[in-house]
């Protein structure tokens, strides 16, 4: 482990020394021309950053364009499917395959009862509910048992175990599941009634191993949660839909994901070595060649952080977790011919996880420097404006496609004005800490009981 760290530091030092060497060589030319070294350095750095930001901007515009086109194609494909849908393969209600709904919970006493009651309302004839209490220290178990006792038609099993993390709880649920399909969700999630009805038909395609659902924000109560609801809508209606068009959704969200039980077993269930077990599992499925679809009509309503520090805690864990999951499959990064689309998926994840936050922060620092030293604040404004225009266009498209509240488009400006700057800082710090291999804890969010 220590050797690994030394290699990392040594490679960084090597790059740094190399750059210094190049600058020193340039210094001779400066001396000959009687120029200032600091002026040369400034020119070099500013020119380098300008070219880099231009390159990043091109990548960003391409990313938005490709995602909007692909997600629109997926939207058209879904409309066509719905229009020509002849009904399920299993026409009889009684012959619909059994689904086990696994709910891993840890100290969810405040929200578990409404979440379970919502599950009892699901419009599907053949399902069971398994609540896995991961060693809660509050009344989660008792409250789950209280709902289980009142349920006459839908079997609810509540099991309790010593605390071992979400991955272990989900694996326990998988072992106990009797259904052919498993729906994994979070304890603080509320599913819409049609969830199973709209997801199960996807599995008529034998190459589909899992279906990712749509996640929406329930507690739209302040500016933080409203911006997050736009973020979720954009992330799902644009990115996830576009990925679904090529059947390569890269993250099956924790709040709603349906799997073939056989596929879960084939990949060995969830691993314990990352803080984004959902992302890790999705990558394992993709690496095994399984296709993953996205179903926008299956909606999971979730509670999002309504305070700044909780939001930062969440983004910190997500960033490090995604980097950990990507690092596990890093061999694929260098084998595009063998790995095909999976290679590009991993590169894209690195782009979103590292390059994007680093580049937007770098852009801000660069333009602030230019504004303060050269008095060209308009450059910062135009940089901000072009990013804001991209955000507004994407928000408008997603709001239309998802038939969401048009007021969300307004939050695209707020998103660019302050939200993304604040979250990007925590993402950059999280990436640096992950690179340094700093230890971390799960960082469970406090629930407010909005379900």
């Amino acid at each position: 482990m220590a050797l690994k760290h030394w290699v990392r530091y040594a490679s960084t030092a090597f790059v740094f020394v190399g750059l210094m060497g190049l600058l020193t060589l340039s210094y001779r030319t400066v001396r000959e021309n009687e120029g200032s070294f600091s002026a040369l350095l400034e020119n070099y750095v500013l020119a380098g950053v300008s070219f880099y930001l231009l390159f990043f901007l091109v990548l960003l515009v391409l990313r938005y364009a490709v995602f909007i086109i692909y997600s629109f194609l997926d939207h058209l494909e879904n409309l066509h499917k719905q229009r020509n849908y002849k009904g399920p393969r299993y026409r009889e209600e009684n012959s619909l395959p059994m689904v086990s709904v696994v709910v891993p919970v840890f100290n969810e006493g405040m929200v578990i009862q409404p979440a379970l009651r919502a599950l009892l309302e699901l419009d599907y004839p053949n399902y069971e509910i398994i609540v896995v209490d991961d060693g809660s220290t509050d009344d989660t178990y008792d409250k789950s048992m209280a709902v289980a006792r009142t349920s006459k038609l839908i079997p609810i099993r509540v099991v309790t175990k010593r605390n071992g993390g979400k991955a272990e709880a989900l694996n326990t649920g998988m072992t106990l599941a009797r259904g052919e399909f498993i729906l994994n969700m979070d304890g603080d999630t509320k599913l819409t009634r049609n969830t199973l009805r709209v997801c199960i038909p996807h599995f008529e395609n034998p190459s589909i191993g899992a279906v990712a659902g749509n996640v929406k924000v329930l507690n739209r109560e302040n500016i933080w949660t409203n911006i997050q609801s736009l973020e979720y809508v954009e992330g799902l209606a644009m990115a996830r839909k576009a990925q679904s068009f090529i059947r390569s959704v890269n993250i099956i969200p924790g709040p709603i994901g349906i799997f073939r039980k056989s596929v879960l077993k084939q990949v060995g269930g969830y691993d314990h070595d990352t803080f984004a077990e959902d992302c890790d599992l999705t990558l394992k499925l993709l690496m095994q060649g399984w296709h993953i679809a996205y179903e926008p009509r299956a909606v999971a309503w979730v509670e999002t952080p309504s305070h700044l520090l909780d939001l930062i805690k969440q983004r910190y864990r997500w960033t490090r977790g995604i980097l950990q999951a990507t690092a596990k499959h890093r061999a694929v990064l260098w084998t595009p011919r063998k790995s095909g689309i999976n290679c590009y998926i991993l590169w894209y994840m690195l782009f979103e996880g590292i390059l994007w936050p680093f580049s937007t922060l770098l852009g801000n620092v660069f333009f602030i420097y230019v504004s303060l030293t050269m008095g060209m604040a308009t450059l910062l404004f135009f940089w901000w404006l072009q990013l804001a225009v991209l955000d507004v266009v994407a928000a408008a498209y997603c709001v239309i496609i998802e038939e969401e509240d048009p007021a969300l488009i307004f939050y695209a400006i707020m998103f660019r004005l302050f939200y993304i700057n604040i979250t990007d800082v925590s993402k950059v710090f999280a990436s640096i800490e992950e690179w340094r291999g700093k230890s971390m804890t799960w960082g469970k969010l406090d629930r407010e009981g909005k379900l």
């Binding site: 700044l308 520090l309 930062i312 805690k313 910190y316 922060l361 801000n364 620092v365 333009f367 602030i368 504004s371 604040a377 308009t378 910062l380 404004f381 901000w384 004005l417 302050f418 700057n421 604040i422 979250t423 990007d424 800082v425 925590s426 710090f429 804890t441 960082g443």
Partner: protein, 73 residues
């Protein structure tokens, strides 16, 4: 001062402000994350091998059974 300059100044101030808030909020998150209740120093007795000794709790008996058990003793 034209409109673009005013807007540019607003964006400049906001960008600097939010980046400072971002750094401050991250520092606050790390500080809050580090603060945990200290572990009890001498709660669990350990044997020589460092394995915690088992704690035997008094089993619960309904009052009538406890009375009968006492009578038997």
């Amino acid at each position: 001062m034209d409109l673009i300059s005013i807007l540019a100044t607003v964006i400049l101030v906001t960008t600097i402000g939010t980046m400072v808030i971002g750094v401050g909020a991250f520092a606050a998150f790390k500080l809050r994350d580090k603060r945990k209740p200290s572990k009890a120093k001498s709660g669990v007795l350990q044997n020589q091998a460092g394995v915690p000794d088992p704690i035997f709790l008094k089993p619960y008996l309904p009052p009538e059974l406890e009375k009968a058990a006492l009578e038997l003793e």
